[in-house]
């Protein structure tokens, strides 16, 4: 049984200007110890998917359909109290913005200590020692001293390490990392990615990595799901995505990356803009921008189909 399986998830936002279908039929599964990358451009539903898994979609957003199973238990059937016990303890989250993700009025050590106490109980003294140990595990130098610092006294990289320590303190089975390195500069990004990979391997923890950065995906992920307009359009092992992408959108994304063989040529881009998520329900959402689109693309929405072993594509015209 997969650790987490999401089936047919639909999360819609009922706004005054119409229903925004932020997530519209997303299905995927994560095995124990697996790193799945969820890749897409801004506003395609990556973060709403992760918030849906935590059942923390802000109003007016609402999960209108689907199943989210953690070790077979449906999270959507749980009452508020049972769901609260899942958060943090079994599924933890790391956010994008390390500058504002820690409470400014408590020291870093205090905050991790509180998380340890909430999860394991015991004495404060012991929990504090655990917090320092956690900071040491995420490679914060002189953790005993840094634990006494307030968040504003730490650099962005250290804060993100502290955030990771905070998330991992209760020993979650699944870590959802929502753009964990986007706000950091490149050298720190590499360090944080190394750290995540090491912690993931040591703990055998599953990771759902949400990003728009294909470089980050290549570093860390085992499998990748490409999401477009609230739908998964392609899902495959990471090597296949880079070596033999099938969906025209994935191909377009990869062509946008600089490559030594195209040195000197201008970078390409995908023509057009993502569709209005309030709009038409018929047809493939990518059809208006797709160079391969045929008449039927505009009428029938293609289903995700396994075109190669482990390689799923939602495109009937994709060249196999």
């Amino acid at each position: 049984m997969a650790l987490l399986s999401v089936e047919g998830l639909r999360t819609h936002f009922a706004t005054g200007a119409g229903t925004v279908r932020a997530v519209d039929g997303v299905s995927f599964a994560i095995e124990r110890g697996e790193v799945l990358g969820l890749v897409g451009e801004s506003g395609c539903g990556k973060s709403v998917t992760s918030l849906s898994i935590m059942r923390l979609v802000p109003p007016p957003g609402q999960i209108v359909a689907g199943r989210i199973r953690l070790e077979g238990e449906d999270l959507l059937d749980k009452d508020a109290e049972a769901m609260r016990r899942v958060r943090g303890a079994r599924i933890a989250m790391v956010f994008q913005e390390p500058m504002t993700s820690l409470n400014p009025v408590f020291t870093v050590g205090d905050q991790i200590t509180a998380a340890v106490l909430a999860h394991e109980g015991g004495r404060r003294r012991a929990a504090w020692d655990r917090a320092v140990e956690m900071l040491d595990q995420v490679q914060v130098p002189s953790p005993g001293e840094r634990a006494r610092d307030y968040p504003h006294q730490l650099s962005g990289g250290l804060r993100q390490r502290a955030m990771i320590a905070l998330a991992l303190a209760p020993g979650p089975q699944l870590l959802i990392a929502d753009e964990p390195t986007t706000a950091l500069d490149v050298t720190i990004q590499a360090q944080i990615l190394d750290l995540l990979r090491r912690l993931q391997a040591e703990r055998g923890m599953a990771v759902l990595l949400i990003t728009h950065d294909l470089g980050v995906v290549a570093e860390l992920c085992h499998r990748v799901a490409i999401i477009y307009a609230g739908r998964i359009v392609e899902m495959a092992p990471v090597a296949r995505i880079f070596e033999e992408p099938l969906h025209p959108y994935t191909r377009g994304l990869l062509r946008c990356l600089p490559h030594p063989s195209r040195f000197g040529q201008p970078l390409s881009s995908i023509e057009g803009a993502p569709p209005d998520l309030r709009g038409a329900d018929a047809g493939c959402p990518f059809a208006p921008r797709c160079p391969l689109a045929i008449e039927s693309c505009r009428r029938h929405e293609p289903a995700l189909a396994e075109r190669r072993p482990g390689h799923f594509v939602a495109c009937p015209v994709a060249v196999v």
């Binding site: 935590m54 609260r84 899942v86 989250m93 504002t100 820690l102 400014p104 009025v105 650099s155």
Partner: protein, 290 residues
């Protein structure tokens, strides 16, 4: 992080010790508070004792002044110094308890309104609007008329009419704090709503609460005097600063000391509280200390 360590001294370190202003505020407040607490021991006279042969005597350094009445006597021959010392007990006590009460009500309702939003917010803020629409003195008059004037009733009425000040400020602050990422993070770590409120939202809203509390303490002292002036506050002969001020205003042209000394006492107290409040606000903000 040796780089960060070597860079630290470049940043000016805000002083953690008391500034001169804060020390002044604290000193004055301790003096006033101490003299209020020990008023029975310090006061040379019974504050209610009338000595009609020594009516309206000026302070002792003036021509008709008497050595045994350093700040003079009022129109009933009562010793002003003794009345100020005793009045401080009432004024400060009433002010502090009323501010505490109104902060408790206002902060609680403000937190609930701002954090939960929706119907709770609409309901609480409409109640706030009602309180703001009716002049608070009028409201207080009505309530005290109904319940009868007593020390406890005065405190209750003052707390129950001024809580809106706290509620509005706290709500506004909470509206922005609850959107910050560390609150979302705490929620994603499975914290209960009550814990989110008390540990993550409230401590970050403390600064304006302290500022409002110091301003309100000053206001409450004046408020009490206004109620006393209308005959709805603490009843004579119990001395309060506000009542002395109101009472002395009839004699301002001929006997300035009646209103001046209680007025000075109020002013010094308010000034001291504000100076201390500023310091407290700066000290409680971790971003301002290294």
């Amino acid at each position: 992080m040796s780089v960060a360590a070597t860079m630290l001294p470049v940043v000016a370190r805000p002083r953690r010790r008391l500034s001169f202003r804060a020390a002044f505020g604290l000193g004055v407040l301790l003096l006033i508070g101490g003299s209020a607490v020990f008023a029975p021991q310090l006061a040379p006279w019974d504050p209610a004792r009338q000595m009609l042969t020594k009516r309206l005597r000026p302070p002792m350094w003036q021509a008709r002044g008497l050595r045994e009445h350093p700040l003079g006597t009022d129109h009933l021959g009562r010793d002003i110094l003794s009345r100020i010392l005793h009045g401080g007990r009432i004024s400060l006590g009433v002010g502090l308890t009323a501010v505490t009460l109104s902060a408790l009500i206002g902060v609680t309702l403000g937190l609930l309104a701002g954090f939960f939003g929706g119907r709770a917010d609409a309901l609480i803020m409409r109640i706030v609007d009602v309180f703001l629409a009716i002049p608070y003195i009028l409201l207080a008059m009505g309530v005290v008329f109904a319940l009868g004037p007593s020390l406890l009733n005065v405190i209750l009425v003052m707390g129950a009419t001024r809580w809106v000040q706290f509620a509005r400020i706290v709500r506004a602050d909470v509206l922005s704090i609850r959107e910050r990422e560390f609150v979302a993070g705490a929620r994603a770590r499975g914290n209960r709503p009550l814990r989110l409120l008390l540990r993550h939202v409230l401590p970050n809203a403390l600064t304006p609460i302290i500022v409002v509390a110091t301003l309100e303490l000053a206001f409450m002292i004046i408020y009490e005097s206004a109620l006393s002036f209308l005959g709805l506050g603490v009843q004579p002969p119990t001395p309060t600063w506000g009542w002395m001020l109101a009472d002395g205003r009839n004699y301002v042209a001929t006997a300035w000391w009646l209103a001046t000394f209680p007025g000075l006492a109020i002013m010094l107290t308010v000034l001291a509280v504000n100076l201390l409040g500023d310091w407290l606000r700066d000290t409680l903000d971790p971003r301002l200390k290294v």
